[in-house]
Amino acid sequence: MENRRYEINDIESMFAPKCEFKASERLKASVMARAKASAVASKPAPRSFVRRFAPWLAAACVAAVMLTVFPWPKAAVQPAEMPAWQDATAKADLEVKVQPAVEDEIPAKVPEAVTDAVPEAVSKPAVEIPASKVDLGGTLAKNERANVDKPVAEAVDMDNVNFVTEADMPITNMENYELTAEELAMIQKQEQLEYLAQINLELEMIELMIKSNNKILEHE
């Protein structure tokens, strides 16, 4: 094995360079001359301003054409810009929603801003636009309302209705979060009344059960 490795080294040394190879000066001179000639011949021309920015100009032209052909979408109409007859219809809808709540025995809590509008709506009778008056062209009179198909609540006597104003339910007044002595007494009284009513109901049920049992026993 050792002899074999030695022989391999000898073989590799046999193939190693034994002399120096040098290219002639003619080679270098010829190469440099041809290189300089090709460099001068292929020198690129300076790019003009237009050629440098041609892609950007083309993109700008395309964008301008697109904006011209496809205009920018308009913004949505603001609620404040609604016409007067639509505004009155919106108020009537709000009034109709408020009136059923007013009819309840327990007084409803309605904001003060609505109280001013409700009397006006209640005083006026329901306006039913006859078919002859319906103008499909949209040229209705300002005082006439369109789409009056909704039921109108009955008139309510406003004198006996207690409306809770903003002063009664202030948001920032911490005193209103606490029950007064009168409110506590009223709550206790209501609880006692409800308990009495429950007891009376149970007594009636027991009486009815006794009567029905007696009838059954008599028949037997």
Partner: protein, 167 residues
């Protein structure tokens, strides 16, 4: 590395100065003629200059030159070498006095490798004479490294037997 200015001509001249001799040696040990070898090296260097002038990025110039000169030698033998040219005929080529030494070197190595297949002899030249690693040879010839090693081993074994038996 790219060429963008006229001052890069000086850099190219430095590259020519550093690589012309080993390129000439590579080509001469395969061709055996100075003029053809220098023409081949000249074309290789000009192709490098053209590639750099066009803006191509070349990370390793020596590697690029090695691949170029190897491919140029293969093309040379495909175009010019007659099929019946032998070493005995190459020994009769007229050589100048200053080229006798290198021509004798060419003949010496060629005789040692004459009985080997072309791919094995080329592997031995690249490994021993041009001092390339197996990985570099494999990359140059687009072969697996194991194939290069096996070719080299077969060539060395053949030469060992040839020397032992005095063939």
């Amino acid at each position: 590395m790219t060429f963008r200015r006229n001052s890069d001509i000086d850099r190219f001249e430095d590259i020519v100065e550093q690589s012309q001799h080993w390129l000439f040696r590579f080509a001469y040990m395969r061709i055996g003629r100075r003029e053809d070898s220098e023409d081949l090296v000249q074309e290789v260097l000009l192709s490098l200059f053209k590639a750099l002038a066009e803006g191509k990025k070349i990370r390793e110039v020596d590697r690029y030159l090695l691949h170029s000169v190897s491919n140029a030698c293969v093309d040379y033998f495909r175009r010019r070498r007659p099929p019946d040219l032998r070493i005995e005929d190459a020994g009769g080529v007229a050589v100048d006095d200053e080229d006798k030494e290198i021509h004798e070197e060419f003949l010496r190595v060629s005789r040692l490798l004459q009985d080997l297949p072309e791919e094995q002899s080329e592997t031995v030249r690249l490994k021993c004479y041009d001092n390339l690693t197996f990985r570099q040879i494999a990359e140059l010839q687009s072969l697996p490294e194991a194939t290069v090693k096996s070719r080299y081993r077969y060539a060395i074994t053949y030469i060992q037997n040839k020397l032992k038996h005095g063939k």
